[in-house]
Assembly symmetry: C3
Homo-oligomer: 395 residues x 3
């Protein structure tokens, strides 16, 4: 497969590689850093590990130090393969060459080039992550796209706690903020997976229970402290469910704050059943390595959708294989593209390219073997790329 | 790959596509509807979801309604690909064209064509499901095949409860019915996975415990009520184990009544150990997405077998990949073909075709690469297609 | 792909098949039998099942006996494919032909040929398994390679218990033996997965608790009895952690003594976190079918490594597919080759050949598609084959 052409010559390079691919709607992503990262910290954005560092060496033994690097991952290889040409370099150039070129061009130029090359027309931005990031509006302007907000519930509650006098004013502010978000945003997002695991009590907590939990949390909370109380997390989830807006839930892998085996989306089964009468769409994010279970949930519960989020970027050359597994049980009108990109614009381009490539090759092979028709392949590709999300989020 | 020829011209159309494939023994299936389904309800037979319906839409937002359909799944595409030609249509014709043709031909003609094209010579029919279905004998006659019965334990107990005066007469009737079934049927089937999950207490319940559970159930049971009491489910399992007949156990995915994470066949490990001294064969049905664990159990416990049931039909173009995973640890003499077909004859044809195609292509590739010999490939294919099942069920 | 040439003609036959493959460091294996096995017991070494036996037959039914054999597995096929040519036979010759030739050549000749053909330059030998086995030194001499010891913690404790007068002398001996092993061996190994499952309490047990557990165990222990007490297993793990040497942990499948669902490496998450401040490398062995979770742990915890052990040999023609899944999230400098070979030398050759073939084909395909560079493919192959292990174990 030919490398991406120089972007100077051909505009967003993706056009020539996947000429007829529909525009993408990235239904779950985050902002891009305003400045940097510098060379020393770039690797930190390539991994879900907390601090990129050399693997441990056994004490008391002499050994050669090695050049362990988070560039030595499928994601790192994919960045050098897909992003280097957009910065005017050969694919798979050395990491230091890539970082030098990146520094020479400057953050604004790099961000603009990579975002435009990603070919994403609409962003749904979860704004609840820390960092000096571009706002959704700035992201949209830089990319020549449009952007909408997804409100992260736990952040909403932490902001309310920062300002609250007591439990009553905290709960009132949460209620107001959820209601206001339902008017201005396109959906909600929860990281309950990180905060208390997905095996939480599926039913809505009672008013007294909520009040007591709020009291307890506000009393013991350090300034800026994270919400981990399961009663309050459940209260947030049910507050969001009652608005009827799509609710995105982190499932599957992420950074080491989570216990992966408590992020299996199947642990949400009872919650999914409890939400069913409300009809509120539940969107399972990422899902890996439990994506087949997520496909099952999307197949048997009409209000459940599956997304692949950071999975394709992090599995790189294996993205096609993982996407194929998601396409086993997930009904084709229930699968949603996203990048989960955060911090560096490379993650947008890599997520988009790997999806386009994987989807094109998978469906192409099925058509060639007579298992799918051409027409179906085009139609399903359009649904996953953004058609279903446009309907789901009312865009 | 060429479409199936018109069945009128070539008898069971499969012959020309997989010319030397051995006849199939479908070791786990259900009956076919006597009449219908009509166009409105056909989709319901394509999904394990309870009621086919449009995905939920967020209230309060205007949006275009879309044509969500359970035809938009790997199974739906496989039906259009493999069944349409047998009804004289182009592969991948539109769903409405398929349903119109189906209605024009009539149930009897459609059922006859599809069953004969499936190339299944023997059916083992679990008769414990509801619906106006063909009996095993009628199914056999329609298909030009033979059929034998598999008795579903929970249904046997529910029938006994319908007629019982008290716990003693209920338990006596269960005992008689199990004994009688062991003389007339080829094996037993349990849906313990649905009724109490596979993490049940692995040891046989005591007599007093069984009697108390029967009392309790008969007192509280609504007419026609399902058996979910774990003590009675265990009593049924152990009653079946003592007959020595093969015992089929639902594992893995199914309809949303089950909790998929409680259907992991590995949860049966202690039960498998407890059954070991009896030597009774245990057949793990379906298994997806826990099929690799099922392969492990078949590899290390001599009395355990694995089946793929509804998995191949529901994963369609991905059936080859899933079957390949089952062929990792499962000893080749421990893997059994079945369709789990229920209601519509399409499921027989799709299950059979996808298995023949997947097995032919997988083993063909391994032979081409020198990893398997031709002779082994033919022999193993014969075992999975029916050779092992014939021995196991004494046919 | 051409069969291996006759070893007489070409020395270690692997050279011509994978001409530029780096030498292998087998970071986890066991000894080879001094004599035998005879024809009747050879199959027992091809399976993790306890006793190779025919699958159970239903009593009371007449049926043909069949030739069920543990040769009818991916591992059995791989042995006939890769080892037969080294013994001067056609690939895929009949099992009885293979066993006759094996007997005619004699154990010493067979072992020598197969080990030299395996192309392994360094062995790390877990010496804590029973049987009349070659010592690491003998293994090294036979293979023309070098060997180092890995000390199995549970065996160390059992040896100490065999000689102990009381709990105090037992614990003192354990402490001495761990200290001595840290000077003479390259690492430790634990089979906690078998003995108490991986969901053990992650924190170090207290001194009093350890003493009480030792008392209890020594009082009730039959001569030669296995250590299964979770407090003592944890004490061993933490004793090893404090030495800083790499600690290998069995995870994933093995023989039926384990409960596979209690061997998911994700159950180690809290233990991994607790070990983190010590920096001691933790090596997750085997991992299948939980290898994607193992890859996640290696990705987010700097001191965690993943190995594939017995997985490639047992999955045979599917080794490439399984290795590909390990190469999704596992950082490329965190993945380690091993064979887990035990008893018969065939397992060394098969493990080595399947890895070389899988790695060559996977990376070759990625290079051809432009997803990896040639240079990276060579470099990563060298890391997995032994480069990372050499650094990790200080070789």
């Amino acid at each position: 497969m030919a490398a991406l052409p120089e972007p100077e010559a051909a505009g967003p390079g993706t056009a020539t590689v996947f000429p007829r691919f529909p525009p993408l709607l990235d239904q779950h992503c985050h902002g891009v850093l305003r400045t940097g990262p510098d060379r020393a910290t770039f690797e930190g954005w390539l991994t879900e590990a907390h601090i990129p560092q050399r693997p441990a060496a056994s004490p008391g033994r002499e050994r050669a130090t090695t050049s362990f690097s988070y560039f030595d991952t499928q994601l790192g290889f994919a960045v050098r393969r897909w992003c280097a040409p957009v910065l005017g370099l050969e694919p798979h150039c050395a990491p230091h060459t890539y970082l030098e070129r990146r520094a020479a061009l400057g953050t604004a130029e790099v961000t603009g080039r990579l975002l435009r090359a990603a070919g994403i027309s609409t962003y749904l931005v979860d704004t609840g992550v820390p960092g000096p990031l571009l706002t959704p509006g700035e992201l949209a302007e830089t990319a020549g796209a449009e952007a909408h907000e997804i409100v992260r519930l736990e952040r909403l509650a932490e902001r309310a706690a920062d300002a609250a006098r007591d439990a009553s004013s905290f709960l009132a502010e949460v209620s107001d903020a959820v209601g206001e978000s339902a008017r201005t945003a396109r959906g909600f997002k929860s990281v309950a997976a990180y905060r208390c695991g997905l095996d939480f009590d599926p039913v809505p907590p009672g008013a007294a229970e909520i009040h007591a939990a709020a009291d307890r949390w506000l009393e013991t909370r350090a300034p800026g402290g994270r919400l981990t109380d399961p009663v309050l997390v459940r209260h947030l989830l049910w507050s969001a469910v009652r608005t009827g807006l799509p609710l995105q839930l982190h499932t599957g892998f992420g950074d080491p704050d989570l216990r992966l085996d408590r992020c299996d989306p199947l642990l949400l089964t009872e919650f999914i059943r409890a939400v069913s009468p409300y009809g509120t769409p539940l969107v399972l994010l990422h899902c890996y390595p439990y994506h087949r279970g997520a496909g099952y949930l999307a197949a048997v519960f009409p209000h459940v959708y599956a997304d692949f989020g950071l999975t394709l970027g992090h599995t790189g050359a294996r993205a096609r294989a993982v996407l194929a597994e998601l396409l086993e049980l997930t009904p084709f009108g229930k699968l949603l593209f996203s990048t989960d990109a955060y911090g560096i614009p490379e993650l947008y381009l890599v997520g988009a390219q790997l999806f386009r490539q994987a989807m094109t090759e998978l469906t192409g092979a099925w058509v060639e073997r007579g298992e799918w028709s051409h027409k179906d392949a085009r139609r399903v590709t359009g649904l996953v790329a953004g058609g279903t999300a446009r309907r789901l989020y009312g865009l």
